[in-house]
Structures are given as structure tokens and as C-alpha cells.
């Protein structure tokens, strides 16, 4: 496997660390290869931690990679080319049902960070009956969020509507714009295009605070057991980053803009408000309850889901330790 630190990114990391020269720096540095599975604001916190040298401050030299999709990221975890992955708890659950031994140590998005957008003319939840709703992939985060939201609103996702997989986040947006689907969840800043096109959010899932495991910090158990200090430092960095972001709106917005290659300030600001206020929390705690929807929705299609003991699949001690030390301010 090729887990070595990539040249240009690692160099950036080093120079930034030198610039921010924190007095609390531990002896530098433990190398970690981490990856996020989507260009999505869920991963904002690790991006910020990386860009601002917060990992470095905590004694980690992180090589932050982008991998496309949870399956691929799991493969990279299991193949040993990355040590820490950020992707959906549902995917981790499926992986464990399939025989993997992954542990979730933190949850960066404990609620569904979506709004359900609908075409003009759909005014109430009842109007959704018989309509087509797009999700990225069956069994993926958007699928679970959509189904959870519908259930919560009193609809049976299997009977009352038609759920259609369209392949990706971008396809979902395109299909909404194009009118081939009647509704679909989306999140800032990408939903800007939808707003421009006159679509409206019918349900704000985040504000409903339905427990979800949308973006976990995940690793193999064997790695966790052998590198508890490193994992703790990683979680600490995330907690610290979240705290700094709260106080540094311009900095945070700049980071998001960089990763999205986007310079629309309105969209970025909207995203900031949404994620800081509605989605993320000071301490990214992971809980058994956050997996309830996933188990319910995936269970019927995959008999192995039942065999997974969620409580053994999560490890709450790291976030708890950070909380004990009040790193999140």
C-alpha cells in the first residue's frame, strides 16, 4: 500500500505549523494518513484543523486525503493505506456487518445536515405522496436521512413515495434543477443553485435534531488499540478546531471556499451559519442511538446488520476525555 505522506501537502503542513508556533506543541510528530469521503461541509472541521495547523499543534503530522465514497474509504482503511477515515456511520455499520472490525470514535454530524428541497407547487408534506424523491445511493447517508425525515413526518418511505437512487450528490442537485425528481435532500453551500432556481426547503432536518451518525471518525480496531494516544490527539484537534471555528468566521469560510473551489460569499456564509448552529456540536460525541435509523432501514435488505453490536462498534472515551479537559471551551 502507498500510505506515505504526499509531497506538496505535507510541505504546506510543515510551513503552517512553523508559522503558528504554538507553545503547547508536543514533540513533533506522529504521522497519520486520514481521508474524507466526500466534498461536503461535514468535513469542514478536519479541513480547518488541517489548514490551520491544529493537528501539528497536537503532535500529529496528518496527510489528509480525499477518497470518493464510503466503500472506497473503508477499503483504504482495511488495506492500511489510511489510518483514519471520515465517512457515514451507516457505511461503517454495513462494513462491520460484512465482516470488518471498524470503530467509530467521534461523530462530526450528529444530526442530518440536510434540508429537503421540493419543486415549486409542493407546499406540504402531504403533497409529497406519490412523488419521486432522489437520493444518492440506496443505503447511503442521503437515503437514510430522507427515509428518517419522511417517517418523522408521518409518511411511509416504502409505500407513499418513490425513492430513486441517482448516483451522487451532484446528480441529485442536477435532477432537482432539471425536474426529473420532485424532491431531494441537499445541504449548503451546494443548495445555493437550488435556491437560485426557486426551489424551497420543505423540511429542515438539522433543526429537527433527529439523531444520526452522518459523518463518523472511523478506524480499524487494531489501529485504535495500538495508537490510543494518536487517536486522542486527533479527536482533541477536531474539538479544538470546532472551538476556533466558532470564533473565526472569516477563517472558517475561507477554508470551505478553498475546498469547494467556490467564492460565493453568500453561500459560504449561509453554510457557516447552518453548520455552526444547527449541525455540529462542541463535542462530537458518538452514541448508540445515532445508529437507530440506519439499523432499521438497512436491516431488511441485509440480514447481517442484526449481528452487529452497536455498543461495541463505538468508542466514546476519546470525546469524553476531551470534554473532561474542556478543550471545546
Amino acid at each position: 500500500g502507498g500510505g506515505g505522506a504526499g509531497g506538496p501537502v505535507a510541505t504546506t503542513t510543515a510551513s503552517q505549523a512553523a508559522a503558528s508556533a504554538s507553545p503547547t506543541a508536543r514533540p513533533c510528530c506522529t504521522k497519520v494518513v486520514a481521508a474524507y469521503s466526500n466534498i461536503s461541509a461535514d468535513d469542514w472541521i478536519p479541513w480547518y484543523a488541517f489548514e490551520k495547523g491544529i493537528f501539528k499543534d497536537n503532535g500529529l503530522e496528518v496527510d489528509l486525503q480525499s477518497i470518493n465514497g464510503g466503500t472506497q474509504t473503508s477499503a483504504a482503511l482495511l488495506g492500511g493505506s489510511i489510518q483514519i477515515g471520515q465517512f457515514g456511520g451507516a457505511e461503517a455499520l454495513s462494513a462491520n456487518a460484512g465482516g470488518a472490525d471498524l470503530v467509530v470514535v467521534a461523530n462530526l454530524a450528529p444530526v442530518y445536515p440536510y434540508k429537503l428541497y421540493v419543486q415549486k407547487g409542493i407546499k406540504t408534506v402531504a403533497d409529497l405522496k406519490g412523488k419521486t424523491i432522489g437520493v444518492s445511493n440506496a443505503g447511503g447517508s442521503s437515503d437514510i436521512a430522507t427515509r428518517a425525515a419522511l417517517k418523522n413526518a408521518g409518511l411511509d418511505p416504502d409505500k407513499d413515495v418513490l425513492i430513486q437512487a441517482v448516483g451522487s450528490h451532484a446528480n441529485r442537485t442536477l435532477n432537482l434543477l432539471n425536474g426529473t425528481i420532485d424532491a431531494g435532500v441537499d445541504d449548503p453551500p451546494e443548495d445555493l443553485e437550488l435556491v437560485k432556481a426557486g426551489l424551497t426547503p420543505l423540511i429542515d432536518l438539522a433543526s429537527q435534531k433527529l439523531p444520526a451518525a452522518n459523518t463518523g471518525v472511523i478506524m480499524q480496531r487494531s489501529y485504535l488499540n495500538a495508537n490510543k494516544d494518536t487517536v486522542q490527539a486527533y479527536v482533541d484537534s477536531l474539538v479544538i478546531a470546532r472551538a476556533k471555528m466558532k470564533a473565526d468566521k472569516p477563517g472558517a469560510v475561507a477554508v470551505l471556499g478553498k475546498y469547494f473551489k467556490l467564492d460565493n460569499q453568500d453561500a459560504l456564509n449561509a453554510a457557516y451559519d447552518f453548520f455552526m448552529n444547527e449541525v455540529t456540536q462542541a463535542y462530537p460525541a458518538v452514541e448508540v442511538g445515532q445508529f437507530k435509523d440506519a439499523v432499521e432501514i438497512l436491516g431488511p435488505k441485509n440480514p447481517n446488520i442484526k449481528t452487529v453490536d452497536i455498543s461495541k462498534m463505538i468508542d466514546t472515551t476519546f470525546v469524553k476525555s476531551a470534554q473532561d479537559r474542556k478543550l471545546g471551551g
Binding site: S74, L78, G99, G139, G140, G167, N171, L174, N175
Partner: protein, 284 residues
């Protein structure tokens, strides 16, 4: 007997090394020869499966990524225990049938025209090269835009995939038609259409059928890629869901269904080719 050991045109063989000067027996191509392809093919597949099972049992990799053939076989059987699979097969089959069928017709026509009329080739070459090198995956949003999310965009992906190898191979076949035969046909005043049908087309059969064969591969990968887009049913969708939910044996069962179809279609094409080539002195 392999192609290089004796003159291919004369496969009458002799029993191995009889005492010199004694009368050699005449043997028709042995019973075994006839079944050789099947026997050797089966043997090599069995060996490969055994090796796979051993690797899988060694559990160097998790079952998540390397399930054994036995796991896959079980998943395969389970697949066929639910009735849904027939809907999937039907859906994908219809998509492939339509998409590939259209690609065969269009590819053959365009390939023949481009091979025959050089100016036509000059005009279309840039587009063929361009679209053949364009990853179809990036065109999917456009297909959705134009065709919606029902069967049409998948058919479009399959069609585009199979089209170009057929065009390119057909064109190469036409360009390689033997000049002497063209001259004979022209000498007898054969109209273009007849030269086409009776000389160019039969002469290009090996090229064209190789193109069809390559097209099958594209069509089958096309159905999987296409059904990633948006699908309710279909083997591609089955593979996609199983893959995303880490049901690897099930996913591989789906892959085997697809690849098995590919092998079937390829065999049919090879049969057709053998038929068309029966004038060639037997090589095997």
C-alpha cells in the same frame, strides 16, 4: 495440435512416431480435439477457482473484500431464491438488448461508410476519436437532462459504449479489404452496394466480429455504470447496492451474472465467426 506444428490446411494427422517405414494410420481429428477447448477451458477455470478458494481460506484479506468462491456461490443461489432477480435481469437485459442492438446497427453502418468513403471518414474521425476518449461517466448528467431517469439514459450509456469499438473495428476491416478482390468486383461492373455486401462485408468479418466482441464488454460495463445513475431495478443497481452495503459475496454474484452474460455472448459471436470462416482451412 497447435497452429505451428503442421500445415494448417491439412489436419490429417498420424499417430505419434510409429516405427519408421511402417504403414501409418490415418486418423481423423481425434475425439479429444473436438472437446479440447471445453476441457482445457473448464480445467483452467477449476484450477483458478481452487486457487481463489485457498487464498480466501487463508484469510489474508477480510471476507469483505476477498470472499471465497464458495461464499459467492451461496450468494448466487440466494439471489435466485428471491423473485426480484428476474425483474433485475429483465430490466438490464432489455437495456442491453436495445442499447447494444442499436450500437450494432449504427456502428456497422457508420464504420462501413467511414471505411468506404474516405471523405466521410475525414469528416467524422475527429468526433469518433473525441467521443471514444471521453469518459462516459462525465456525460451522465447530460443524459439525465436529455433522457430523464428511466431506461433511456442507461440505453444511451450502453449504446455509446458499444458504438465506438464497432465503428473503429469495422472501419479497419473495410480499409483492409484485399485490393485484388475489389478489382475483380469492379471489373464486373458491380455497383457499390453489391461490392459492399458481397466483397467488403464478408471480407471484414473477422474485424467486425472482433468489434462486436469488444462492444459486448462495453455494453455490459455500460449497464453497470448506467444503473449507478438512477435505477429501480437492474443487475447494475443490485451490484451497486450490494457494493455500497458491503455485501461483497452478493456483489460478486451480480458481477458473475454480468460477466457470465458476457462470456455467453462472446461464445455466440465466436460461433458466428467460425461459421463465417468455415471456408478457411481448419486451423485447430
Amino acid at each position: 495440435m497447435s497452429i505451428q506444428s503442421w500445415e494448417p490446411a491439412a489436419p490429417t494427422t498420424t499417430l505419434d512416431r510409429p516405427p519408421a517405414r511402417e504403414r501409418r494410420s490415418v486418423v481423423k481429428p481425434g475425439r479429444f480435439k473436438q472437446y479440447e477447448p471445453v476441457v482445457i477451458g473448464t480445467l483452467s477455470v477449476v484450477i483458478a477457482l481452487a486457487a481463489w478458494q485457498i487464498v480466501a481460506n487463508a484469510r489474508i484479506y477480510s471476507i469483505l473484500f476477498v470472499p471465497g468462491p464458495w461464499d459467492v456461490a451461496q450468494a448466487f443461489v440466494k439471489l435466485f431464491q428471491t423473485g426480484d432477480i428476474w425483474l433485475d435481469i429483465g430490466t438490464s437485459g432489455a437495456e442491453i438488448g436495445i442499447g447494444y442492438g442499436m450500437a450494432v446497427v449504427a456502428g456497422l453502418a457508420l464504420g462501413l461508410l467511414m471505411g468506404w468513403y474516405t471523405r466521410f471518414q475525414y469528416a467524422l474521425d475527429p468526433f469518433v476519436n473525441f467521443f471514444y476518449s471521453t469518459p462516459r461517466i462525465v456525460l451522465i448528467p447530460l443524459f439525465i437532462l436529455w433522457f430523464g431517469i428511466e431506461m433511456q439514459p442507461k440505453i444511451a450509456v450502453i449504446f455509446l459504449g458499444a458504438l465506438f469499438p464497432i465503428i473503429i473495428n469495422t472501419m479497419a476491416g473495410v480499409r483492409n479489404t484485399e485490393a485484388a478482390l475489389l478489382r475483380v468486383a469492379r471489373s464486373f461492373g458491380a455497383p457499390d452496394a453489391l461490392i459492399f455486401r458481397r466483397v467488403v462485408l464478408p471480407g471484414s468479418v473477422p474485424f467486425i466480429l472482433t468489434g462486436f466482441r469488444l462492444g459486448v464488454g462495453h455494453a455490459l460495463t455500460g449497464v453497470v455504470v448506467g444503473e449507478l445513475i438512477a435505477a429501480k431495478h437492474g443487475v447494475g443497481q443490485l451490484i451497486a447496492i450490494a457494493g455500497q452495503t458491503f455485501q461483497t459475496p452478493k456483489m460478486l454474484a451480480g458481477v458473475i451474472l454480468i460477466a457470465g452474460t458476457g462470456m455467453l455472448l462472446t461464445t455466440i459471436i465466436q460461433r458466428v465467426e467460425n461459421r463465417f470462416q468455415s471456408w478457411r482451412p481448419q486451423i485447430r
